[in-house]
């Protein structure tokens, strides 16, 4: 098998590829912020006393975690118009990614909240903290600090999974790759280049998240974040 690589051809399509990278970054950042915010709220509901809220959150988490992201995207993009809600491919991708990431981050943050010892809350009460202060300083922030590396791994996995959004014609990086391939017919080169771009994006995202960890929680958490590989959620 002799094959000559022609990477020069790809350079002509740099605008398409850059547009794809930009869309992947936008989708990832937006879904990380929205998904994480939902995760904090849902994990807080989940850690309250048993009741209907807790059952609903559990059901949501189990359903999302036990069905493929691609099928969730199909339901949002193809299924919702049947209910009278028509959304663009980009919006559908963002909704799908947020719904998916919210379920995983709920589960991760819940584990963090459960690891907070009851005596910590009592200590907070003894110091005269209000309930909101206890919730913020004693429960949520330490809980997130504990699970921050796992949470970041999930964010990286979500960024990589966003490539699947090309299946519902969202014009992100994987879709740009398919477009350039159809124009240039150099599929091997295109996919090698785009794979390397994803690798760079994953490393960059991990670096940025480690910096945010440094700013929020200090050096130890940031270091663990920078070296941690995506953890597989069980």
């Amino acid at each position: 098998m002799s094959y000559t690589f022609q990477f020069g051809v790809i350079a002509q399509y740099q605008n398409e590829i850059l547009a794809g990278i930009w869309m992947t970054i936008k989708l990832s950042v937006a879904s990380i912020i929205l998904g994480c915010a939902c995760g904090i709220v849902l994990a807080s509901v989940r850690s309250m006393k048993p009741g209907i809220g807790r059952i609903l959150v559990d059901a949501y988490v189990e359903i999302i975690r036990n069905t493929p992201f691609l099928v969730q995207l199909f339901i949002v993009y193809f299924g919702m118009p049947g209910l009278g809600i028509r959304v663009s491919a980009v919006t559908a991708a963002l909704i799908g990614m947020t719904i998916n990431l919210a379920a995983y981050s709920t589960e991760i943050i819940r584990a963090g909240i459960e690891s907070i010892h009851k005596s910590q809350i009592e200590a907070g009460e003894a110091l005269g903290f209000t309930r909101l202060q206890i919730y913020r300083h004693v429960i949520i922030m330490p809980a997130i600090a504990k699970v921050y590396p796992a949470l970041c791994s999930q964010f990286v996995l979500m960024m990589l999974a966003s490539s699947v959004c090309s299946a519902i014609s969202t014009n992100e990086l994987a879709a740009s790759a398919a477009f350039v391939e159809s124009q240039s017919f150099r599929s091997f080169e295109v996919y090698i280049v785009v794979t390397l771009i994803y690798l760079a994006l994953a490393l960059a995202l991990r670096g940025v998240l480690a910096m945010i960890g440094l700013w929020l929680f200090g050096r130890r958490v940031a270091r663990r974040t920078a070296v941690a590989l995506p953890e597989v959620q069980t």
Partner: protein, 219 residues
């Protein structure tokens, strides 16, 4: 043209496609298990270069989307003159994907066997192979069981991505039926339900194993 509606025979088609999802999962787990096992051994080896090569492999596989592995092996290799049928391309890609993650899971398990176990077996004059065979791996296997079963759930779900290169498994079957019936909501809810039926018991099994093995190690 008379539109078909989503009925019993369509559901039957979905169930038969589910079989291919299961087949692909088994290929990925067995193939990825074999490759991943050796990479996990290399990752915990005493040779520095083996460790570096294995770590790089794991970092790369975990840093790229499964979809790109699939595109490279299906479209990429066909341009280079090696045309793989969708099943082979899908099976090979899922194997590569699973190997990167299983290697990392199992590395963690091998390394979580207490250091004293290595020292004790060394003081019994065991060779490195004997240490692995009789002391380390049996313990690592037990530790790895919950997370390996948990990862199987990820593999079942990720096989859906092979539908993008046209391999007819459950997700692709759903698309085909949707094209014939135009009842996307019903069709894809049914598809999701079928995935759930496979994945949920596995998730619960993983959780049960975790509780059980955890409880035992603390006795």
């Amino acid at each position: 043209m008379i539109l078909r509606t989503f009925g019993f025979s369509e559901f039957g088609f979905l169930v038969s496609a589910l079989l291919w999802t299961v087949v692909l999962t088994i290929i990925a787990l067995s193939g990825g298990g074999i490759v991943g096992f050796f990479i996990a051994l290399a990752r915990t080896s005493t040779h520095r270069w083996l460790r570096i090569v294995a770590a790089t492999y794991i970092q790369i596989i975990q840093g790229i989307p499964v979809l790109m592995i699939l595109f490279l092996s299906y479209y990429g290799l066909s341009l280079a003159g090696l045309q793989l049928p969708p099943l082979v391309a899908a099976g090979a890609s899922m194997t590569i994907y699973a190997s990167g993650y299983l290697a990392e899971i199992w590395r963690g398990c091998i390394q979580s066997v207490p250091k004293q176990q290595w020292e004790a077996s060394e003081s019994l004059a065991m060779t490195r192979t004997q240490q692995y065979r009789y002391v380390i791996l049996p313990q690592a296997l037990r530790i790895s069981l919950p997370s390996t079963v948990g990862f199987a759930v990820q593999v079942v779900k990720n096989t859906s991505i092979t539908s993008i290169i046209g391999f007819v498994e459950l997700a692709r079957a759903g698309q085909l039926i949707n094209n014939a019936t135009f009842q996307p909501f019903r069709v894809f809810i049914a598809v999701a339900a079928l995935y759930f039926v496979v994945c949920y018991p596995l998730s619960q099994l993983s959780r049960w194993l975790e509780r059980r093995l955890h409880a035992r190690s603390h006795r």
